[in-house]
């Protein structure tokens, strides 16, 4: 149940799922870079990019609703950029009076803010597409064979593997607390806030100690199977013609969007 909530992969048979993960990672990164490089207020090209994202989602047999609803989670982070509205110089749209302060919104600021919002929203959708069409092990392989530092990839892969074990452990701890959170008489239960905080702190410490001990055992299990400090993996992927073609096509589309964005605005 929870595993499904954490694992965003959607199992389908589609040309997108079938692509070499390295191509998908590279194209996603390039696409995000391209979105970031588009000038402010180039609404037409934003829309064009969005159409491209939706087209990929359709080919990958993902529901548009799935991509859209998932992408909303990142919007609150983009709200940090709202200060732009009030700090950028430009024609004043309206003025707010906050006690002794007076802040005014500018049109240039508003355009910049909306552009940041649109860009981050598009980028998140691209990342969601990558996650929904690529299994995590394949993603890790892609990163490893794209020369990402081996230590980082190893840390990521351990995180992925043990996130679920840790979540299970937390669930067990919480359940044990719940099972003993009884109440003898009618009325308030559970003690003071300080007491609750202390219980939560103990549980966190408990979790840390368990994880530490587990890491020891895992390292032993690795040593027992001949680990000598160098992580070795097989590369199960090889670039086929259609992978190269997809890569070329994606780069072509991105360059066209860039060109349009620069000439139209």
């Amino acid at each position: 149940m929870l595993h499904n909530a954490l694992d965003r992969y959607r199992d389908r048979t589609s040309p997108i799922h079938d692509l070499d993960p390295r191509v998908k990672v590279v194209v996603t990164l390039l696409a995000i870079l391209s979105v970031l490089l588009l000038p402010d207020g180039a609404w037409g090209t934003y829309f064009l990019t969005w159409c491209a994202v939706l087209a990929v989602a359709l080919v990958a047999q993902l529901r548009i609703g799935f991509v859209l609803s998932r992408s909303l989670v990142a919007l609150p982070f983009a709200l940090v950029a709202i200060t732009l509205v009030f700090t950028l110089p430009g024609r004043t749209l309206f003025t707010l009076h906050l006690g002794v302060w007076e802040i005014s919104a500018s049109d240039a600021g508003l355009v910049r803010f909306l552009s940041v919002l649109a860009r981050s929203w598009l980028s998140v959708q691209m990342a969601i597409l990558l996650g929904a069409t690529t299994r995590i092990p394949d993603l890790l392989h892609a990163l490893r064979h794209l020369r990402m530092p081996a230590l980082l990839v190893t840390i990521l892969s351990f995180m992925v593997r043990y996130l679920f074990v840790l979540v299970d452990e937390v669930t067990r701890l919480l359940r044990a607390r719940q099972a003993r959170s009884a109440c003898s008489t009618q009325g308030k239960t559970g003690g003071s806030l300080l007491w609750r905080a202390r219980v939560a702190g103990n549980m966190t410490g408990q979790l840390f100690l368990r994880s530490l001990e587990r890491s020891d055992r895992i390292y032993n299990a690795m040593l027992a199977r001949g680990f000598r400090g160098q992580y070795v993996t097989i590369n199960p992927h090889c670039m086929r013609r259609r992978d190269w073609m997809a890569l070329g096509l994606a780069i072509g589309v991105l360059m066209m969007v860039q060109w349009l964005g620069r000439t139209l605005s």
Binding site: P137, R161, Y162, V165, R214, R217, I218, A224, G226, V232
Partner: protein, 257 residues
């Protein structure tokens, strides 16, 4: 400086026949104390011949797991001698020892640390430096041996406990060890998974040393039994005989079942 090794003895000759007179494992006067001062082993000596299946029983804290970790050089006491297939367990020999002794940990979540089953089973052979085709052959073979041939692409965290146990055994079988060392193999399994595991261990043609509390499994699977208590070996003999001595069993917190 490179260390030059004598060719190691194997439990099997080239035709898959076991050589029953070879000593797979020799432990002499092993002492061990943990860094916090807790003494876990007080002079343990034992021998296991090729092809034998031996159970190691005793209460919690008797030193069973500590002993098992020594067999693979994961713990090193400096006191006492261990020889695996005639080769002393010393630092320069460790890479060879670890390929010979397949150590299966109690909790498969500790043993299965890769995202997919395939990568976990391939970990040992890959780190032995084998070529890719050979690694692939061994993974396929090991998974087939434990009856999990179709699980190669599965994600480890989606498996059941019984499945994880089998995969954990496959991760060491792929290294073609001479001795399989198991820490509480049947712990945490439901009756059906336990039955499947017992049947699997019965048909695996390999020398075996398993620590366990599961006396039913000991009776079924292991003709020889070693009882440990407080860091010592207190009895070593045929399982059928030892299980008749109720005084002995009771003195060390065991039940005949």
């Amino acid at each position: 400086m490179p260390v030059i090794h004598e060719p190691m003895a194997r439990c099997e000759d080239g035709w898959g026949r076991t050589a029953p007179d070879t000593l797979a494992l020799e432990v002499e006067g092993l002492h061990f104390a943990y860094p916090d001062g807790h003494v876990a082993l007080r002079g343990v000596s034992l021998q296991v011949r090729c092809g034998e299946k031996v159970a190691l029983v005793g209460p919690n804290g008797a030193g069973k797991s500590t002993l098992l970790l020594h067999l693979n050089g994961l713990l090193n006491s400096g006191q006492g001698n261990i020889r695996v297939m005639g080769m002393p367990v010393t630092a320069p020999n460790l890479p060879f020892i670890r390929a010979r002794v397949g150590l299966v940990f109690q909790n498969p979540d500790d043993q299965l640390f890769s995202p997919t089953v395939y990568e976990d089973v391939a970990f040992g052979p890959l780190h032995m430096g084998l070529p890719e085709e050979e690694v692939h052959r061994r993974v396929t073979q090991a998974l087939a041996q434990v009856g999990m041939a179709h699980y190669a692409d599965r994600l480890s965290y989606h498996l059941s406990m019984g499945e994880k146990k089998r995969i954990a055994i496959a991760t060491v079988l792929s290294m073609h060890p001479d001795i399989l060392v198991l820490d509480e193999p049947s712990a945490g399994l439901d009756p059906r998974a336990r039955r499947g595991l017992i049947n699997l261990l019965r048909v695996l043609p390999i020398t075996m040393l398993a620590s366990t509390h599961d006396m039913g499994m000991v009776r079924e699977l292991f003709p020889r039994m070693i009882i440990m208590d407080e860091g010592r070996i207190v009895a070593d003999g045929p399982t059928a005989d030892l299980l008749e001595q109720s005084d002995l069993l009771e003195a060390h917190g065991l039940e005949k079942m």
